[in-house]
């Protein structure tokens, strides 16, 4: 197989060829069936039409095709572990031989789904940082035995450490965790995780398809059916549509909270964060266990996130922006729900501060609110004026009745929007202390970003024709890694302030 590539490399530098565990045929099945979602949708349509024979045939065909595909993949994938690198040869029609030097491997992540756990297997991902921006994963060994995965990881670590002996890792595995979450904490995190999106989605579904599915908690008939035996309640629902609407809202909110609880529990159960000699190690999961290491050197920024409700209870979510992505979800969450002292302990373990001295914080310009109000206010005034003119009898304009409605909505919305803007101004501030920049922004989505100056790649001062009129500009920082949308910036600084801040940022 591998002769086809014929790379000039002596075999004695590499170990013997190894294959994935044969149960890959089982563990890979879920993913490859999911990949055939077009066919699945077809099957669902046929099922709805009651042509079950076809559905069963289709299902068998999908399964067979998946198994054959997996079998070919399994036969054609070989990996060899050498002293300094791992080679993964894969592919049937187009073969790839990938060499990953251990010097470049930053994370060795293990993941165990339910089937993996049942048979003592694991999915190994070697992270090199090359895939920071792209979706493709670096080196994945989909299913190998857990034992082999552990020895591989230890092998790579030992290689990176040089000649230092393994017992250090053993000792640190026994040490108490840096941060852990008990079941109560996981449940609390789940409560904060209730998703408005789920509630809105369910509301939409129940209103659109409620009649077909027989599930519309906003209709009286739904409750009358359920409350068949509870006489007085049924009478109440019969009498008042508003009761049905209230009950429906309660059901949806409960569903939203329940979804958050379940999702959080699945992900965060048994959360445990350890300090290893080179970085942090995170283990979590209820059904699917993941085991991720984050090298401290690769961390570019720390982000503390909360919202008004979590803020009220003093809870924070702590994330690290690293060169490698956390799966496909961007920043690594290293504490889903923690009080500030816990966050201090975690960041302190690799020498990062959490907050500057209280008097070091500086607010941004009030033009942050003024420029916003000036942008959204006048159109509303205009619409209002026009509709008043219409009321005064100018028949040409009165022919546009929509404007009146727009004007009313606008005059109601503008003060609310400006108030929200004011709240987020109150929560926006920055501080430069030592060689760390702290930036806090936002009210509803409050974030505190902790940025070491030596990780800043470039500094922009940006302004446009609007902000120029208010004499403010935005200081935007180029920092490596992280998701596509979350950039780091300080909004609404006066020119003088922005320039002196930039000079100080770059003077390191």
């Amino acid at each position: 197989m591998s002769e086809a590539i014929a790379l000039p490399l002596t075999d004695d530098a590499l170990g013997p060829p190894e294959r994935l565990h044969p149960l890959y045929l089982l563990t890979g099945l879920g993913k490859s069936v999911k990949g055939a979602w077009g066919l699945l949708a077809g099957a669902a349509v046929l099922g709805a039409q009651g042509r079950w024979a076809l559905v069963i045939g289709l299902a068998l065909a999908i399964t067979m095709a998946s198994i054959i595909g997996l079998l070919i993949k399994w036969l054609k994938l070989e990996y060899r572990v050498g002293r300094d690198e791992i080679r993964i040869d894969s592919g049937f029609l187009s073969r790839t031989s990938r060499a990953i030097p251990f010097d470049r491997v930053t994370d060795v992540d293990l993941e165990q789904g339910p089937i993996h756990r049942l048979f003592g297997l694991a999915r190994v991902r070697l992270e090199t940082g090359a895939s920071a921006g792209s979706k493709e994963e670096d080196g994945v060994l989909d299913t190998i035995s857990l034992e082999r995965a552990e020895t591989l990881r230890e092998h790579i670590r030992a290689r990176r450490r040089g000649e230092k002996a393994a017992p250090i890792a053993q000792a640190s595995a026994e040490a108490p965790p840096l941060f852990a979450m008990d079941n109560q904490r996981v449940a609390t995190a789940g409560l904060f995780n209730f998703s408005l999106a789920v509630i809105a989605g369910l509301f939409g579904v129940s209103q659109t398809f409620g009649d077909v599915l027989g599930f519309d908690p906003f209709e009286r008939s739904f409750w009358i059916g359920i409350l068949d035996r509870a006489g007085p309640l049924q009478a109440l629902v019969m009498a008042h549509q508003i009761v049905a609407v209230l009950a429906g809202s309660v059901v949806l909110i409960l569903l939203g909270i329940g979804t958050g609880l379940v999702r959080t529990a699945l992900r965060e159960y048994g959360f445990r964060l350890d300090r290893t000699e080179t970085g942090l190690r995170r283990r979590r999961g209820l059904l699917t266990l993941t085991d991720v290491t984050i090298p401290a050197k690769r961390v570019q920024a720390a982000i503390l996130a909360n919202g008004p409700i979590r803020g009220l209870f003093g809870w924070w979510t702590l994330k690290l922006q690293s060169l490698a992505m956390d799966g496909k979800k961007g920043d690594h969450v290293i504490a889903p729900l923690a009080h500030e002292p816990e966050a201090v302990a975690i960041l302190d373990s690799f020498g990062w501060p959490v907050a500057p001295a209280a008097d070091a914080w500086r607010r941004v310009s009030r033009a942050y609110i003024a420029s916003y109000a000036a942008a959204i206010g006048p159109p509303g005034m205009f619409a209002l004026a026009v509709s008043f003119l219409g009321a005064a009898g100018l028949s040409v304009i009165a022919a546009v009745p929509v404007l009146g409605i727009v004007a009313v909505f606008w005059t109601l919305a503008v003060p609310a929007l400006v108030a929200i803007r004011w709240m987020s101004w109150r929560h926006t501030r920055y501080a430069l202390e030592g060689d760390t920049l702290f930036v806090e922004t936002g009210w509803w989505r409050h974030r505190r970003r902790i940025l070491p100056l030596r990780k800043i790649q470039s500094v922009d001062l940006a302004e446009n024709f609007w902000s120029r009129a208010f004499g403010i500009c935005t200081l935007r920082l180029g920092v490596a890694g992280g998701g596509g949308f979350a950039d780091h910036h300080v909004p609404a600084l006066s020119h003088q302030e922005a320039q002196s801040l930039r000079a100080r940022l770059l003077s390191v």
């Binding site: 800043i456 302004e463 446009n464 024709f465 180029g478």
Partner: protein, 160 residues
């Protein structure tokens, strides 16, 4: 810790860059104008707004070719000292970027067909940042672009 850490003596780029900008604007606006003309004749000729569209597009396009390149050119500048590269650009949306040499990952000097016609080149500096990871300085003479590239390259080599 003073403000003059950032180089403040901005230099202009090549004057012929104005013509390159005009050329680019013309290449963009002339087909748009023709399309507007055709659409107007085919669809809007009999409506009360007939011939309004090509006039509007023509005016915007003309100002894009005549006025905008001058403004863009006047607001485009760069400065560098031994440590930092600063580029300032933009008319309606103004950006002032500073990149320390030690943060530069790699450097391109690119020339498109328009650049070749007017004797200009762009310097493209890549950093490791996810945002603003590409800093473009257009309108340099090819020699100057190569000179800056070499200066930055020497700095990077020294840092390591």
């Amino acid at each position: 810790m003073t403000v003059d850490v950032i180089p403040a003596d901005l230099q202009r780029v090549e004057p012929s860059y104005r013509n390159a900008l005009r050329m680019q604007a013309a290449v963009f606006w002339i087909p748009v104008f023709l399309a507007a003309l055709v659409a107007d004749r085919l669809l809007l000729a009999d409506t009360p707004v007939g011939s309004l569209l090509p006039v509007l597009v023509g005016l915007i396009g003309l100002s894009g070719i005549t006025v905008a390149p001058d403004r863009i050119y006047r607001r485009l500048g760069y400065a560098l000292d031994g440590r930092l590269l600063r580029t300032v650009r933009g008319w309606l949306f103004h950006t002032d970027t500073v990149v320390p040499f030690v943060r530069v990952q790699h450097i391109d000097v690119t020339r498109g067909p328009v650049d070749k016609m007017f004797g200009t080149a762009s310097l493209v500096v890549h950093t490791a940042g996810t945002h603003n990871s590409v800093v473009v300085l257009p309108g340099l003479s090819p020699e100057r672009a190569a000179e800056i590239r070499d200066a930055i390259r020497v700095e990077i080599a020294d840092a390591e």
